[in-house]
Symmetry: C2
Subunit: 238 residues, 2 copies
DNA sequence: CGTAGGCTTGAAAAGCGTCAATAGGAGTGG
DNA sequence: CCACTCCTATTGACGCTTTTCAAGCCTACG
């Protein structure tokens, strides 16, 4: 978490100590376990220590839309620090550990220590940027491009989170979950992935393991430009 | 703007004075004028004083996705305060006035005055919540529901911005722009709107003027629940 | 009165969804 | 160790929503 927050912002040792002194308790949650439910009044924010989680919303016909995917080191639901009732659910994708931090402590540290507050604000801004890209992905790209885009985003974010190389990774989601993230159906996700494989853009030893032979080709197929992730450290204002 | 920022947060008189003392210059922009372009290095944030603006992204095939719509009093591009390069464009929908405020001044006031910083952070969190709803709208709802949802959101937001009643308003967008906001085509937007009209959910004296006979019926058709707008003042933490 | 931008409508095609059936793999209990 | 079950992946056939292409219309505005 420290590493993630410090990505754009340099902290003093005192800031670091204050962060590490935050009260929290660690929970291990199973796959599918809800961390927060839509309409809940949440009192904690959480940091993912291991495993994967998603944020999702349910629409009228019972369909689900995944609005973001989170991995090791990321703060989920920072919005719970200022917004009381949750407008979406947070759910584990895989078994994993999360650290729960009381809302008041998040707020306190954010306002007592400007560098930390700034890093958190920045984090929510990057989050919002990813949301915008997802709106465009789901709204204006065809199935093939959407899936390729998601695979690229995953690839880059896993690498940034320190989980391996960008050309080879394990997808922590089922095809139904991929469908919920891309606004497609599981069946069509399956066909589309097989299409990408048939065209040599990816290889899969098994359904979940993604090997990207030519990253640039996949990025082109996915209309992927990592700018929206704001990974460039010069991208944040000092 | 003051009113909007103060929606959730109470400011002291000193805070208000500081806000009003911010340096800015006012510009009047025509319809279609770009305020910020994707990839620009932005140096200002802006507040809309009159008229409407949208934020949008362009995807590979040249299609455009509108990711949000903004009206009087809203701060657009607060993210430019901390993120250097713009991941999307901001463009006027109608002729209108905007106040441009230098990035450094935004940052200074946000960190010198906690109440203001908190209100701004809150603003970005609500923004993000709306993005999430849009992902769900575009990803998991059919054309009719999407359009009805957008009409409801507009209706509520116009009222909150102090621009009339929720049952009767002028849409500031063409059907092509509606299409870009909902991830549809202009042709299909047209058919869908006429469908809503034929079913008595809306009335239109002319193509742009929306009259909502039975708000609840339209909200039901649009799967609309205003929770994601976080309008409840108790919805923010004090 | 003419032009341009936006709206409306039709017909056909495409992409994606639905339904349904099968296959594979991991875990469980006998 | 095997049978059983559940969950996930895969595939086919079919249908529907939405797109595409194309044409005509309306209205505001010069």
């Amino acid at each position: 978490m420290l590493r993630k927050l410090e990505y754009h912002e340099r902290f003093s040792q005192a800031d670091r100590d204050a962060l590490l002194a935050l009260p929290f308790h660690i929970r291990t949650y199973d796959r599918h376990h809800y961390v927060v439910r839509e309409r809940d009044v949440a009192t904690h924010s959480c940091v993912i220590l291991s495993g994967f989680a998603v944020r999702s919303k349910i629409v009228c016909n019972g369909n689900r839309q995944i609005v973001s995917i989170h991995m090791k080191g990321e703060m989920v639901d920072l919005q719970n620090s200022l917004l009381k009732v949750a407008d979406h659910s947070v759910q584990m994708l895989t078994t994993g550990k999360v650290a729960l931090i009381p809302r008041e402590d998040i707020l306190r540290i954010a306002f007592e220590r400007p560098a930390i507050g700034r890093a958190m604000w920045l984090d929510t801004l990057v989050d919002a940027s990813i949301f915008r890209e997802w709106i465009a992905n789901v709204g204006r790209r065809d199935a093939r491009t959407r899936i390729a885009h998601l695979l690229c985003e995953f690839s880059i974010r896993l690498k940034v989170a320190g989980m391996g190389v960008e050309t080879d990774y394990e997808l922590p989601m089922t095809q139904e979950q991929l469908a919920d993230a891309t606004g497609l159906t599981a069946v069509h996700v399956n066909r589309t992935i097989k299409g990408l494989e048939a065209d040599g853009l990816i290889d899969r030893a098994n359904p979940r393991s993604i090997y990207i032979g030519d990253w640039r080709k996949l990025a082109a197929a996915g209309d992927f430009d990592s700018g929206y992730l704001h990974l460039d450290r010069g991208d944040a204002v000092n």
